[in-house]
Symmetry: C2
Subunit: 201 residues, 2 copies
């Protein structure tokens, strides 16, 4: 298995984390985003959207971090990570949607403004990200995990940009329930971190 | 089945279209977004994100349009609409991701600027939306459907904001392959339209 990767990307880290939790051997292929390696012809043949991560497995090319999570869960994780019962898979998908909306366009973009000088409206991104954190916090008030009463890819999809929120100047101290959940993810067997994520355990 | 709905929302229309294609009887509960009915306490108990659509089925509450598509496909559509083979479900998920990124934050936001006076950067939204249309067009160059060689929820997820793109002043004439695919969706048995979507057939 080969993962086209960038060390600083929370979306690529989603996949590295899942590979590590599933204990799947893989090769990392670093793509230099600053040098535009994600926009050259060779890379665009892998992913027409010009984004990392991309996974190569058995001649199959899978792009998009969350599609890769679904692929890995289905192929290597069974229903433990992605249940198939209609209401259960929908519960997981709801949090994948939060990860792609409030967390990506809020928390991740706020971080990208500060960390990579991206041109987005910092305060609007922070506010959108905080809306996501409030939804997470309320949901986690009486739950340990986001869906199905156990860890699933819902948690893995949401974790990276939540844990990286302080890089976008959003303190997680304001969300103790979210902090506790961050700690639970960090305590999973096979957990691996990334630069910029502080250990809360 | 009860769908909390708004006539003008492309995300709610995603679900109406799926319900119609599956020929599932349902009741529509209109939520007045301008009057803020999506932010009152009663509604926030259904969906803490304060968004339509929300589906009620057998005491289950499912929020998020794409989670609802997954739910309906799993519960009422079998593998026809959402295959479970790892590479196939991942292929569907890739286009759900495009629908939540370039199409929602590009095409849908450009439309919302023009149609509802929302405060986003119109040209940036248009450009992001066009990037999505280019990816769709390239993919559809030698395919009829987005994933798995047949119509799936990938098409239903992407269709609404593509078909509504002209309301955001993005002409689909520039993307003939996309136009042809729009026509194929419109020709599906059980298809239903919405105000703002022109018939291309």
């Amino acid at each position: 298995m080969k993962l086209y990767d960038s060390e600083v990307s929370g979306n690529a880290y989603k996949v590295r984390l899942m590979l590590s939790l599933l204990d799947l051997p893989h090769e990392l292929v670093p793509i230099d985003l600053r040098a535009g390696e994600n926009r050259n012809e060779e890379f665009l043949r892998l992913n027409p959207r010009g984004q990392i991560p991309v996974l190569l497995d058995d001649q199959r090319i899978i792009w998009d971090s969350q599609a890769i999570l679904v692929y890995l869960a289905r192929r290597y994780g069974g229903e433990r990570w992605l249940p198939l019962e209609p209401a259960e898979i929908a519960a997981v998908m709801q949090w994948l949607a939060v990860a792609e909306n409030e967390l990506l366009f809020g928390l991740a973009r706020a971080r990208a403004v500060k960390r990579f000088g991206r041109p987005w409206d910092f305060e609007a991104c922070q506010e959108y990200g905080r809306a996501g954190l409030r939804v997470l916090a309320a949901h986690l008030a009486d739950r340990d995990w986001l869906a199905c009463g156990r860890v699933t890819i819902a948690d893995i999809a949401c974790y990276p940009y939540v844990a990286l929120a302080p890089e976008g100047e959003i303190a997680l101290d304001d969300y103790p329930r979210v902090m506790a959940w961050v700690g639970r993810v960090q305590a999973l067997p096979g957990y691996t971190g990334m630069q910029g994520i502080e250990s809360v355990t």
